[in-house]
């Protein structure tokens, strides 16, 4: 299907927007009026610019507060429309979006609205222009798409049809199945936006919190399938108002929008396209280790946690450290200690990379010697390298043994997402890896709020937590690898005895409160182990190491089907980390 996007969805000036939209591979654009008004180019040159970029101008928008008005105002509104028709001729646009009237002075009655819209359509027809009438969710009288359709049917003019917008329909909780009652040729245009579920005024929700399909909570693809069933053959067009997108990089946002439409098409086409090759587990996590001259190294922490170095890469400065099913690569290529890559077990690494590439993820070039294992990798929007592994990679390191130990594997990794690009990260991990969102949280931090979203593969073999980088004095955006074990108290006892300096200290006040809320083992306090209990009785024991560079480790034990991440305790950790507990 043709793909389009409204210029208001991305940041920048109109010419910057057009270039970014074309570069992302869109077929067309909706020209948003304010972008045009502020542009120094005359409409003819904007038309030429779009054509040179291979973009069609699919819609001009919005034309507001036209219908259901008294006669004197109608005359003024028609005059206003004639100006816009002339502009559209210069621009080479033949479809005008008319939003349902929101003015408090509007006069009621479907007959009046239909008559005035018919008049508008007649004037438009003289110039070969068509009118797409849209029910705004906060329209004064008309705010449901089926009401807009009743009026358009009454008006009964070939140049008058509907614009459907997923936000306006789904934000009101309207059932989109009614769309199938509308003849496809009367649906002149389809605008798509998703949104998180928020309890707020719908106008503010729409103006600030829309996002691309797949980034929010609406069933946008379900709505699109009803529109296709109705016989709609026009473009899928993104129209998003989002405070973060407004400040984000123009090209990056445009590419993210294109990714959302490709993922939406994947969902619609079902088996027709490659679906995500869902990873079956963590193959490894790769950490850049710091300069040995500068303070503590990750390798010291790993050794303390019971990991052993079991192999070295034949040609790169990379070591394999193992314990139980947990495999960590330490990369000594320099830079601050940080989590740089994640390896995922995949039944079809080649297919996984191909799928990621179809979703506009950059495939990473891998320089390798002929005898080395093939590694397929793409870059996530947060910069993390994602490797798809079939197991052969281990042969590079020729590990000579298994390392039994307390740690059984990697439970989850927590990645810091760049500010303004949280939604992009979620869409990537959702569409490329097939992870499912588990919930999102805002956690108090001494210098702000930490936004956090958890995602997991079906079954939970791969879990990731995406955190938004905080801002604050002396702040470090931290990442961590959480390691699973079967007996956290035993791990804690050993670490407390042998490596007490590796553990993040937990304040006694935390345990006073914990003991007020739950009947817990007093040894938790002694060992500095944190505790959480979910509503179904599942329990979570966990502890943290100190931070090295940007990285720390968590050790966790899940009991009785606990599915969370100890979020209730995260503010304690954040405060201790900020207080210099490291």
């Amino acid at each position: 299907m043709r793909k389009s996007i409204a210029t208001v969805s991305v940041s920048g000036t109109l010419t910057e927007k057009l270039a970014a939209i074309a570069a992302a591979g869109f077929d067309g654009v909706e020209i948003f009026e304010n972008d045009l008004l502020a542009c120094p180019l005359p409409p003819e040159q904007i038309r030429d610019r779009a054509a040179d970029l291979g973009l069609t101008i699919d819609l001009y928008q919005p034309f507001r507060d036209f219908e259901s008005v008294p006669a004197d105002l109608l005359a003024r509104n028609l005059r206003r429309a004639e100006h816009k028709f002339r502009l559209m001729e210069r621009l080479g646009a033949d479809l005008l979006l008319v939003c349902s009237n929101v003015s408090p002075t509007v006069v009621g009655g479907d007959e009046l609205a239909a008559g005035q819209l018919r008049l508008l359509a007649e004037r438009a027809a003289e110039r070969g222009i068509r009118i797409a009438y849209e029910a705004l969710a906060w329209g004064r009288h008309v705010n449901e798409y089926l009401h807009a359709w009743r009026i358009a049917r009454l008006a009964d003019h070939p140049n008058l049809g509907l614009c459907l917008d997923s936000f306006h329909i789904l934000s009101r909780g309207s059932d989109p199945i009614g769309i199938e009652a509308i003849p496809g040729e009367k649906i002149f245009f389809l605008q798509l936006a998703d949104a998180p579920l928020l309890a707020m005024d719908v106008l503010q929700w729409s103006r600030h919190y829309r996002c691309f399909p797949g980034q929010g909570n609406f069933d946008v693809s379900g709505l699109v399938s009803h529109v296709l069933n109705a016989g709609y053959a026009g473009p899928l067009s993104l129209e998003v108002f989002n405070d973060h997108f407004r400040q984000a990089d123009t090209r990056r946002t445009a590419r993210d929008g294109m990714r959302s439409l490709i993922a939406l098409e994947d969902t619609l086409k079902g088996a027709g396209r490659a679906h995500p090759v869902v990873p079956s587990g963590f193959a490894f996590a790769e950490l850049a280790d710091g300069d040995p001259a500068e303070g503590r190294r990750i390798s010291e922490v790993l050794a303390g946690l019971g990991f052993l170095r079991t192999g070295t890469h034949p040609t790169k400065p990379v070591e394999l450290w193992q314990q139980g099913g947990a495999r960590l690569l330490l990369n000594a290529t320099g830079g601050d200690p940080a989590l740089v890559a994640i390896g995922l077990d995949s039944a079809d690494p080649g297919g996984a990379v191909k799928h990621a590439e179809s979703l506009l993820s950059p495939v990473l070039p891998r320089e390798r010697a002929p005898e080395e294992a093939r590694l397929d990798a793409v870059a996530a929007p947060d910069g993390t390298e994602i490797f798809f592994c079939d197991g052969s990679w281990l042969s590079d390191f020729e590990p000579d043994r298994q390392v039994p130990g307390e740690i059984t594997g990697i439970d989850h990794v927590a990645l810091t997402q760049p500010w303004h690009y949280f939604d992009e990260g979620e869409l990537f991990y959702r569409s490329v890896l097939g992870l499912r969102p588990q919930g999102s949280l805002e956690l108090p931090d001494p210098y702000g709020l930490l936004r956090s979203k958890a995602m997991a593969s079906p079954g939970g073999a791969v879990r990731m937590v995406l955190n938004i980088a905080q801002v604050g004095p002396g702040d470090i955006p931290r990442q961590h690898v959480a390691l699973a074990c079967d007996d956290l108290m035993a791990v804690a006892r050993r670490l407390r005895a042998e490596h007490p300096g590796l553990l993040l200290p937990i304040p006694a006040n935390y345990y006073d409160d914990l003991e007020a809320r739950h009947e817990v083992d007093p040894e938790l306090r002694h060992l500095g182990v944190l505790y959480d209990k979910d509503e179904r009785g599942g329990e979570f024991l966990h502890l943290y190491t100190v931070t090295v560079g940007r990285v720390f480790f968590e050790i966790v034990q899940r009991i009785g089907g606990y599915e969370g991440y100890g979020a209730a305790n995260a503010p304690i950790r954040l405060a201790v980390q900020h207080s210099g507990g490291n």
Copy 2:
């Protein structure tokens, strides 16, 4: 009255918070539980720390979901309470805030709630602790303060009283006059917060958008006067949850909170304290002019606008430029061209500075020679120096003439407020200068949203626009001085003919739209003049100069009682400025 603040209101760790709160001059604190839990100090040391800083611990909070529960849960809740009572003994706190239950499992009935709260009060009494019961605006059964009072009256225990919170009362639209029906000695505590009027879920509104009294739209001082009429004699205590405050400087926020309580007391005491000496006009605006070696200077723009240099300061590198009633000082002390100070005509400069100082504004030291005029000045939170002038300052410059011209005076100045400190700026200009908020707006900018608030003295002789600095690639936080005139078209004609390079170019597309909306003089387009019309028929003509450093000028003409600032045209200006139109 004693002044207190909840530790949650400011950023940082608990010990940082206590130090900042004491430094701002508060008498006491409410200890917010999460701050204590994350603190490495035991309660005894927190008590000592507060005492050393001269702070009393006025309240411990919150204790949640206690009342209206089944018997088994009551036993667990009482056990939980006993833990908190022991903690409070160690902390030296004798007042516990109990919020009305929000759990979906709560059991209804005032008798049950009263009986359980009485039991809690009895247990508390054994340890000399009192319970302040608060109706949360989103409490499951109890969410109105008079309902909480009915239950407390039923419970009838001397250790059980109420906590009143202005947010919970005013956010629901409850009439605070009912407070006068509550005996003052049963109001154990008073928490104050203001908030902007927002159409959103009350819980989200409360958790993210509260602000200090005088920064929002609630009549907080009206509520306080009812509480005082009821006979309340406890502290005024701020309790604010605000996303910006969470990220702002701890000491600065604490000082801002103290300013809000002092201003609130001023309002309550009426004539008992100095009221703002409201300025009667702009005496001058002072601009730092750039280095003559680097590009265009402000003096060139002023000369083009018809200003004349009429004087030079005897001892400082400062020139006076005049036209009509507009006086601008150009300061050649170096740095980028910027608006650095505003002089305000004041009937009592000494009193104005004393009032500003009572509101914690730093008074600026002025080095001057004995024969020079006295200048009283304070620093605004945004760094602008505010001078209070009685007219004698002009004698320093010995201006030898009046400069008749097209410009009649300064209409308004637009100042950029630092990110996270928008509310602080509003409170300063409101409480120190007596300006009144006129409205706030969010305007689209090519790289974000510009938040803008207009304020004016009664009568409009002094008008200011506060803008939040945007972020974005290559962004400059701009300031401007708007100059008034009686015939903007004449000014525009002269400038277009004589100095076309000084004018910000306005796109032709703007005029196509303007002519679609209004029947306007076609000369507007030719001259690049912008136009706005308000709902009452008032009209506004304006134009902009190019930017020098951080500063540009606007020239405006108000017709027919127009009170706005041409906000509808600001996005056009912002886009042209971003596009390099300068």
